[in-house]
Symmetry: C2
Subunit: 552 residues, 2 copies
């Protein structure tokens, strides 16, 4: 994900928040005694990436087709031998298909065919995850994020034969090759393209039950591929873009990982990295970079992600029994609770207005989503999950106030946000009804199972209910359906939503998916969307955690 | 130089000639016993390049100015500090000036200025030898040689701070930097650009006499810079283009080198390379490449260059007394004489028509130059020079027929080409009068000094005399002036022609120079001309060999 608004609010985050939490501008670093150790543990747990040599399978033609996803489809035309064995001068614009979404380093060979090479050759390689990326002109560029995210790389070949590796790591399925300059006095051909595909994944998850439907099996397969692509030396949000660790993606990826690839060192690494790079005030920064040296995107404070760190940590410790990591990072989890204490009003309602001014409160790619109920629900959930973590670690006495606070917030939520007549939760001054609000109220246990079911069922017939904007929010909706016992509805939601991507030919699940608008982009240019996004891979978690729902 | 015509004649060279000289297609390699040794000696004499770190001096603005060379001039505007210390986002399109023509590897540093880098940055660097190269749009490209010769390189920066070296070797004075893509969420600056400048030159030639005129001193300085830039691991024709060893350039560069940098190992290396890569028939190929492994541009047979190998070798042996190299390569020089024997008619005239069909007969960038007289003169000269070499090496008896042949050709030239009335030599059916014809007739000693002077003087007032097309031919003209004793005219020719380039601001002498047409290009696109071309550097030779003419 990317913060795509240059709003005043955003500017404020860079300036105000550090002061807010440090109670003025103090020079103190609350985690100073631990950071070096945390960053060392992050380094020690860095997985060694597996490398697999992959080759293109076919030459394809990209054709316009109104019925195809985004209006473009790739049609097999020839074997790759045709490219390799013939003059490249006659094949500029050729597109090859590697047959699957891959992440890694691309190498090609180039040799003379006739005559002696007497001048440099210039080639342009464009890498795309989906066909439209190679069909839509990039310039003049109208996207709101860096043009350099698009994977077009120009290579000057000064001698041949040559084996050339493009330095930039790439994420793609298709490659287009164009000839930009060549001498008329010799001919040459491109041979032996390959990708050194990388991933942290080493373990092949077990097959699903034979009773699993083909659609669910496909969703699982595509979800696993998505996760595999995103698991590099951190849990990346997306291997094309943004190639970095965000807390929200970490949470969902670690859930899916727990039930599939079980790469626990990667999960640990990410926890330690985030902890080691938290602000001086001990509050987490939403995302971090690994290179050139690990560093955070200073100032990028995202409230719900701070809470989700605690949730993810508890899930991890509970699933792996790795108490040592829990104990190491307990101070961080404990510190994030200050956020709850700060904004919890006397009436037990979180001051979401004030929080929204002082923080980026995310929850979903949805500008018109009112965040009050989401924030209330997540806060309650976080308080409870953190206390559960404390119990596992024997740290209850350090957070003795939390259970009561959680109850207070829960009661206030029920009192102020629940509409017994409609059976739905509302959010904000305008009493907005949204999928997010219902999901978080259900997940946080504010209502009974029965009431939860009723709320989620009532959503379907609520005309103006604010739907999820991104697959990210859809995860929480499905989790809520399962939590409330609406198993058939959960299965149907997964089959409909993720199945929609499957039916449209997804090799990996997309960052952005609106069934009614295939060209939707938060960046004003859909080719720059990530078409392999970690936060969309959680069907893997659902399918494998709840086989009784999904594999029957 | 580049063969810029895809003529049927050219195609013929690739097919016919090997058969012609091998008397059919034999599989024999006449120099097979020697090649490995020659190529080893070429490798052993490869100079170690000196590397010097160079930095830009100024930011410049490129302005249109009808009075400036090619209509563009560079005006100093700021110190480079302005580029380094400010956001690059506000400076896209900046041009920096390194203050001199340099050849080597370019490195730059890039650092964030504000915010955390969260997306790749894309930069385009364009390197130019002269201001017009950075001012004229390259596309749509209309040149007849590879678009990839133009030095625009796109770099994707995926993390910072970073120190990035562009892999391609570059030749330039000016660099333009443009921003093609960046994230709106952070700012950055480019700092510390440098060029690792390379040359084979290690020796600083002595200063000229204090009586030397400022113009001659400038010509010498610019000529020395040109030569220094072209002296890499071979004598290159031009460091931007074509970056390779041609026999004609070797001849002129080795003459200039002998009187300045005295890098004899480089000269030896080039002789041995050309010998080692000659055709199986023992006839030289006009140009060779060093990488990936030494190889010739197979099929590129240029007649006058085969002869000039002998001339250059004799000059080298006579100047250095390195008889061993002479003896090693004597078989090659001897073999080239077969070309003379083959085309010399019974009447003593070279069958230039037949030769022109079977060879590329070059002499000059001048389509309408009739080559008969040039070929006749060069042949005589070559025969005499080769025999002189034979005498130095004690090999006269192997070429006993040559003096008589040379005399025969000389007499035939005088009889058939000399017009005693006009005092000029004519060439071809149409009795064309050209600078080239006079030059070669004088250099080959066909006429007496007096007649030679008269011919060269008569040229000036001959209205339709075909002038030199390139500085290459101009060298031979000046050499002829000196040979005939027209010292003042020689000095004036150098001051006028090369002085013309000096006055137009040349940092190095150009591949192509027509005083009346600054946009002249054999490639239909003048930015791709080489503006640092070895064959234009011979004033260094004249000035330093004949101080009595040029340094008074």
């Amino acid at each position: 994900m990317v913060l795509n608004l240059l709003s005043p609010k955003f500017i404020l985050f860079f300036v105000l928040l550090p002061a807010v939490f440090a109670g003025g501008v103090k020079a103190q670093d609350v985690f100073q005694p631990y950071r070096q150790d945390w960053l060392k543990k992050a380094e020690d747990n860095k997985p060694k990436l597996t490398e697999t040599e992959k080759h293109p399978l076919n030459i394809v033609k990209l054709e316009q087709d109104a019925a195809a996803f985004q209006g473009w489809k790739a049609v097999n035309t020839d074997s790759v031998g045709k490219l390799y064995n013939n003059s490249f001068k006659t094949q500029s614009g050729v597109v090859v298909d590697f047959g699957e979404h891959l992440t890694g380093y691309f190498t090609f060979n180039i040799k003379s065919l006739k005559g002696t090479p007497d001048a440099p050759v210039r080639l342009k390689f464009t890498f795309g995850e989906v066909p439209s990326e190679l069909s839509v002109p990039f310039d003049p560029y109208k996207g709101t994020i860096s043009r350099a995210w698009l994977q077009d790389e120009t290579v000057t070949v000064t001698e041949m034969p040559a084996t050339i590796t493009i330095p930039r790591r790439l994420a793609f399925r298709y490659v287009k090759v164009e000839l930009l300059g060549a001498s008329p006095y010799f001919d040459f051909h491109i041979t032996d393209m390959q990708l050194k595909a990388t991933t942290a994944v080493t373990f092949k998850p077990p097959l699903l039950a034979p009773t699993t439907s083909p659609l669910i099996a496909d969703i699982d397969r595509v979800g696993l591929n998505t996760l595999k692509e995103c698991m590099q030396t951190v849990y990346e949000d997306g291997p094309k873009r943004d190639r970095r660790l965000w807390i929200g993606d970490l949470y969902l990826e670690s859930l899916a990982n727990q039930y599939s690839y079980q790469k626990n060192d990667l999960t640990k690494r990410c926890f330690y990295l985030l902890a080691g790079l938290s602000g001086d005030d001990g509050i987490l920064i939403s995302n971090v970079f690994e290179t050139p040296e690990p560093h955070a995107q200073v100032g990028n404070r995202l409230l719900d992600y701070c809470f989700l760190f605690n949730v993810a940590l508890k899930e991890y410790v509970a699933a792996t029994d790795d108490k040592q990591t829990g104990i190491d990072l307990w101070p961080v989890a404990k510190k994030q609770l200050d956020i709850a204490r700060k904004y919890a009003g006397k009436d037990g309602m979180m001051d979401y207005i004030k929080a929204g001014k002082e923080w980026w409160v995310f929850f979903d790619w949805k500008d018109d989503l009112d965040k009050q109920a989401c924030l209330q629900g997540l806060t309650i959930y976080t308080l409870n999950q953190t206390y559960a973590l404390a119990k596992i670690l024997g740290k209850e006495d350090e957070v003795a106030d939390i259970p009561a606070l959680a109850r207070k917030l829960k009661n206030a939520a029920y009192k102020n946000l629940y509409n017994p007549k409609s059976g739905l939760f509302v959010s904000g001054i305008n009493k907005q009804v949204s999928y997010g609000a219902q999901a978080w109220m259900v997940l946080s246990g504010v209502v009974s199972k029965t009431e939860g079911q009723a709320a989620l069922k009532a959503l379907v017939s609520t005309k103006d209910a604010v739907r999820p904007g991104a697959p990210y929010m859809f995860h929480y909706y499905v989790a809520a359906l399962i939590e409330s016992g609406l198993k058939a509805e959960a299965k149907e939601a997964v089959e409909t939503y993720w199945g929609g991507m499957i039916k449209k030919g997804a090799d990996t699940f997309w960052e952005v998916y609106d069934p009614k608008d295939e060209l939707k982009s938060p960046y004003n240019f859909y080719p720059v969307n990530s078409y392999c996004h970690a936060w969309s891979c959680t069907p893997v978690y659902f399918i494998r955690k709840y086989p009784e729902i999904f594999q029957r």
